[in-house]
């Protein structure tokens, strides 16, 4: 036991020395990034971060989306079999199995939900022009749906989403991304090459495939966030 703690201490000290040398030798005046010779001409996206994670390093993003999908799927698979927690106190803010809804939440919930959906659509479709993108927009819409559950029954929202086949559409998005790679391969000579128009930077149809991928990722993150939040709200109050 003493040997293990000594080993951990030595490893942490080595790590600290490496970090110290890195920080003291790092001159933060310039950087070499071969992608960014002329990013506006090559990608036509105003948001350079979007240009990197939706074009230059898209494989990274694909596996990131797969990891998020697996996490949401695992939470859904395990927690839907568990019964609701018995210790749950009735809450005025979020209604489950109850007809009593707080009046403030009934008015504010629908209003905030509408606002958040409009805002999320805006930042999903302008992710290549300014700040925003699919991940942020999906999280905003999923959280807005949670606020809506203040004015409606949580399980009824889930039933409505199931009747709209939201989860089936979400799972089929995993097949759209390879399809878009194959389309890019057919229209050009490389997989995942841009096949959407790359016009003047700053307009709606710029940035190539960033528009399509932002929409797909936004929908997927919205559905995954809602799945996770729904199951966590159902099992609240056990801490």
């Amino acid at each position: 036991m003493k040997f293990v703690s000594l080993l951990v201490l030595v490893l942490l000290l080595l790590f600290g020395v490496v970090v110290f040398l890195y920080i003291s030798n790092n001159d933060l005046e310039k950087y070499d990034n071969p992608y960014l010779e002329n990013p506006i001409e090559s990608n036509t996206s105003m948001n350079l971060i979007s240009a990197i994670y939706l074009d230059y390093r898209f494989y990274d993003t694909i596996f990131e989306v797969i990891v998020f999908f697996v996490a949401a799927f695992g939470v859904n698979m395990v927690l839907e079999k568990l019964p609701d927690s018995k210790k749950t106190k009735p809450s005025k803010l979020i209604s489950i199995h109850s007809e009593e809804v707080d009046l403030r939440m009934e008015i504010a919930g629908s209003f905030i939900f509408t606002l958040s959906v409009i805002f999320s659509i805006y930042i999903v479709f302008s992710g290549h022009i300014g700040p925003g993108g699919g991940f942020v927009g999906g999280v905003v819409a999923g959280t807005g749906l949670l606020v809506l559950s203040g004015s409606k029954d949580l399980n009824r929202i889930e039933e409505n989403l199931n009747s709209l086949h939201i989860h089936e559409i979400e799972q089929s998005i995993m097949f759209f991304i390879p399809i878009s790679g194959i389309v890019g391969l057919l229209l050009s000579n490389a997989g995942f090459s841009n096949f959407l128009p790359q016009t003047t930077p700053g307009t709606f149809f710029s940035g190539g495939n960033a528009l399509l991928f932002n929409f797909l990722i936004g929908f997927k993150v919205f559905s995954g966030t809602w799945t996770i939040l729904y199951h966590f709200v159902r099992h609240r109050g056990v801490i």
Partner: protein, 111 residues
Amino acid sequence: MSQYLYIALMFVGIYGLLSQKNILKMIISLNIMELGLNLFIISTGYIKEAKAPIILFGNEGNYVDPLPQAIVLTAIVIGLGVTAVALMLARNIYKTYGTYEIDEIRGENDD
């Protein structure tokens, strides 16, 4: 210089992971560690007097390195997934053993 602060935040997280015995506190420590690491990665791309890498604001040719920020965007989403799965496992442990303290978790035939 603020990079030392981010590394210190990461070590706070590591200390919490090693010393706490409550599963929820361990998950919080994991998040603190991840936050310090993300801040450190972002700070490696910092350039003096440069602006955000979005050319919307008329800062063409004078922006910080966007590559660490794109990597950290990936890391944030994966951290969200890891936290969700960890909380799900904690809920499952609570259902099986009735406690969140890892000291009190014992198997049937443990002796």
